[in-house]
Symmetry: C2
Subunit: 199 residues, 2 copies
DNA sequence: GTCTATATCCAGATAGAC
DNA sequence: GTCTATCTGGATATAGAC
């Protein structure tokens, strides 16, 4: 019995999701070049040939994941930006949300860590580099802007806003790295400690 | 004219230092497996064969650098531990020292970042894994201990000491990563912002 | 869509001349 | 000590059967 179009599409998207999920784990753990197509095949239970049926190269998979990472991050950041909340509460909400995600979602931590890794490396595909270049500033800008608003209102401490935004994100990346090391033994710290720097 | 023993040793240590320095840059930037022996050769101006005259494999170079990183870090941490200073000043001094180093020394940032990377990866040499396992806890323990002392004296904020130690080091690692991205455009933030979490 | 078999390429490592 | 030439293994990617 031949499959219809929907079934085919569903099968395809299921396969690509399996590949992407396994690759995210592996890339985060070992980096692009130490991850072999055969690892991805083993992890998904597919044959090596089948991976190539869906993606034309390891690089293409990697680039796709980096794009996903920024899609998710940008979406979250935009929601934060548009929240109807005073600046200091936005910062608190951002930390809370990020820390909760870091603790409960392994993939969330992996995305942060993978982007961090990718941002440093020059041994990544050109298209991934381009994606990073186009997206890397946005989260910093949004946090910096929130901080400036809070400083004008007098509700956020008056250190250099750019430095504070850098600390905000490097703290998160540092914790994402820490979770990458500790895996499920990781327990997120209290957001209150981090908030001391801001309010 | 034949060289004497000292000259030979000097030449040898000069070569190995060149190799180690170039490899640190490359490994920090691209990771172990994306760094080729030919890259190291090109970076040092040596031939590929000459690299093998001094080290028997890429992994050996990598392991050596990881050991160096911990030698330096442990030394600094032990000095801090033995300083005759009240706990809260020790924390301040640690941040100051780390941030200054991060800003002025490219290698310092690279060591931190490389160890961070290596701690996550399982695609590193066994001996490097062992070195990491044996050394990773010490810096956290020392900071945690200092924090506990300060909390008993009432000079350090009373959040969970373990969490505070984690935040201390993840902040540093986060900033080391940030410098790895920005390279010489990196400017360290004020230690005062970070100190808000502790005093 | 999926698998197995295989071609191709390239990086790590060695050998041997100077 | 240093270089060039070369061997070898393993990983990417393709071909072709089912």
């Amino acid at each position: 019995m031949p499959r219809n179009r929907e079934q085919n599409e569903q099968m395809r998207s299921q396969r690509t999701e399996q590949i992407l999920a396994a690759s995210l784990r592996l890339f985060a753990k070992r980096g692009l070049s130490a991850t072999k197509i055969s690892d991805i095949a083993a992890e998904t239970g597919m044959s090596q040939g089948l991976i190539y049926h869906y993606y034309s190269s390891k690089e293409e998979i990697y680039t796709e994941i980096i794009k996903d990472a920024f899609r998710r991050l940008n979406e979250a950041v935009t929601i934060l930006k548009n929240m109807n909340l005073p600046p200091e509460e936005k910062i608190k909400k951002a930390f809370d949300g990020l820390l909760i995600n870091l603790e409960k979602s392994d993939d969330s931590a992996r995305y942060h860590y993978l982007v961090a890794q990718a941002s440093v490396s020059d041994a990544i595909p050109e298209e991934a580099k381009k994606t990073i270049k186009e997206n890397r500033d946005y989260p910093y800008q949004v946090i910096e802007e929130i901080i400036r608003e809070g400083q004008e209102l007098g509700t956020i401490k008056k250190y250099d806003a750019k430095e504070m935004a850098v600390i905000f994100w490097t703290t998160i990346k540092g914790l994402a790295f820490h979770k990458a090391v500790l895996e499920n033994r990781f327990k997120a710290p209290s957001a209150d400690i981090l908030m001391e720097m801001f309010i």
